[in-house]
């Protein structure tokens, strides 16, 4: 018996025609050939989030981002009100333009211009080539022909996105669509206290993303984190149901119900002593900031009490907005068909006191404990899939976003192959 009402079709999955209900293949997550197709069809065509505007606060502030799936590195730089993106490649002889000490490591900083470490060519913040070493030695060289290669770059709610296509088929806002755009107005720009985490894992990028699209695994993978331990069998038996799922184009949303975060209303013996002492826990600080009225798009299912909304941006980014007044992000950057860099960030309003800072520390520390459990489990999943002994995997209604995600990936790859054949 469902705890929450389902759409009239009887399930979230059947509410979206075309998803089907049959078991799915995970060949897309173990095939090196399929990954090669994804690189072209997805990572060189979709809008990819690469950072936030706060990372480049003034003219000349920049950061680099290496996108292994697209075999390139990018420079994002602020020039006045503009945020620009370029391929991180010197136009003289192809040297990676911006790096320090280690060519494979991303960096950030502030500069007036970019100078190549190889032969000293220089480029302005607008990408124009401003200096060629011993220019007179070249043959009919017009520096105007040798600016940095620009990349389409647009900003949504302070998140910087790039698109590596020569001509993207959609603007960023068209690509994001109304469900994601509904987040606009949330005070992301005020949440500048940031805890950032990173690890490279041995799992396909989609296998990794899958675990962050459903909470069906939570009462199993994370069972040991529930308190008190005597409640764990009940939690495990109850399983997990979300009150609201939504799809919009390639993107997905899952909302959880609230209530559990209200630890201060629970019998103290059911609350961890450290939570009582710090007035914070898994769901964040108990003393919540007043963010004013949130945009209705943050909770489009109008779930009351509301817990969190997890917005899944195709292809590799997610924002989780928590009822307690903070948010975190996940991003999954493939480095091969079975390895991925997992980036997790926790953001909140700047702490004004030590107590507030400790409350955020509890949330950030908890995020790490949970993420470790996910990451290790997903390496095990990859091993199981690569055994190749099973080719049909059943997905339930709580895994509707997983089902949609693999379908969209397949559709984008097929679509790209068709357009290449035509071309």
């Amino acid at each position: 018996m469902a705890r929450y009402p389902k759409p009239v079709e009887g399930s979230w999955t059947e509410h979206y025609p075309g998803l089907g209900t049959e078991p799915i293949s995970y060949e897309d997550s173990i095939s090196p050939d399929f990954y090669e197709l994804e690189r072209e069809a997805i990572f060189k065509r979709a809008w990819l989030k690469v950072g936030r505007v706060e990372q480049i606060p003034r003219t000349g502030s920049f950061f680099t981002k290496d996108i292994s799936a697209a075999k390139t590195s990018l420079i994002m730089v602020r020039d006045g009100d503009d945020v620009r993106a370029f391929h991180n490649v010197c136009r003289h002889r192809g040297n990676k333009l911006v790096w320090q000490d280690y060519p494979q490591v991303e960096i950030s900083g502030t500069t007036r211009q970019f100078t190549c470490k190889y032969h000293g060519w220089r480029f302005g913040l607008d990408g124009a080539c401003t200096f060629a070493q011993q220019e007179g030695e070249f043959f009919d060289l017009d520096r105007a022909d040798y600016g940095l290669v620009p990349v389409h770059c647009e900003v949504f709610a302070g998140f910087i996105f790039v698109n590596l296509a020569k001509e993207p088929t959609q603007s960023l806002r068209e690509f994001l669509g109304p469900m994601i755009l509904g987040m606009e107005g949330y005070p992301f720009h005020e949440m500048t206290d940031r805890y950032a985490f990173r690890v490279e894992c041995r799992a396909n990028w989609k296998v990794f993303s899958d675990a962050f699209m459903e909470f069906y695994h939570a009462p199993v993978v994370h069972l040991g984190n529930y308190y008190p331990p005597t409640l764990r069998p009940t939690i495990n038996q109850m399983g997990y149901e979300a009150p609201h799922y939504q799809l919009d184009g390639p993107h997905g949303l899952v909302t959880t119900a609230g209530g559990l975060h209200r630890e201060w209303e629970m019998p103290p013996e059911n609350v961890k002593a450290s939570d009582l002492a710090t007035r914070s826990g898994l769901f964040g600080p108990w003393d919540q900031p007043d963010l004013g009225e949130l945009p209705p798009g943050i909770n489009p299912g109008k779930i009351n009490p509301w817990g969190l909304s997890s917005f899944q941006f195709f292809p590799n980014f997610a924002i989780l907005v928590w009822q307690a007044g903070w948010y975190n992000t996940h991003q999954f950057w493939p480095t091969s068909h079975n390895t991925v860099v997992f980036e997790g960030d926790v953001y909140s309003l700047p702490a004004k006191t030590a107590s507030e800072r400790v409350g955020r520390e509890v949330a950030a520390a908890t995020f790490k404990e949970y993420s470790l459990q996910d990451a290790n489990t997903l390496e095990a999943t990859q091993l199981g899939l690569e055994a190749g002994v099973v080719d049909r995997f059943p997905l339930n209604d709580q895994e509707v976003l997983v089902r949609n995600f693999h379908k969209v990936v397949g559709d984008w790859v097929a679509d790209h192959q068709r357009s290449r054949m035509k071309g």
Partner: protein
């Protein structure tokens, strides 16, 4: 290292008053559970007073001893998970991976 009011926690300061999460995590992984339990038991009844003490100062202008105390509270948070939940330093079934914090607000 700590304010005189917290002299009872001084024996734990050298090991646990660490500036970054990376150092605190390393300490958690290499400390026997009994030692962690002793630190947890001594700290738990003092956390609220420690926070009240630190809150008397602007967060961006804490005296050194208050910074040391705040770092001790961060370590308390980090050891609370093994002590309260798992009775082991790692979350269950996570030894094969890591998740490194490389940006955090200071102090």
């Amino acid at each position: 290292m700590l304010p005189t009011e917290f002299a009872d926690l001084e024996p734990f300061a050298e090991r646990w008053s660490l500036a970054t999460e990376a150092e605190r995590w390393e300490q958690r992984m290499s400390t026997p559970m009994d030692d962690m339990q002793a630190f947890y038991d001594a700290s738990l009844p003092r956390i609220e007073e420690a926070l009240a003490y630190c809150d008397k100062f602007p967060l961006d202008d804490l005296p050194d001893d208050a910074v040391h105390l705040l770092r001790l509270v961060y370590s308390f948070v980090l050891v609370s998970f093994p002590i309260e939940l798992w009775r082991q330093p790692y979350p269950p079934d996570t030894k094969g991976t890591s998740f490194d914090r490389y940006v955090e607000p200071l102090p």
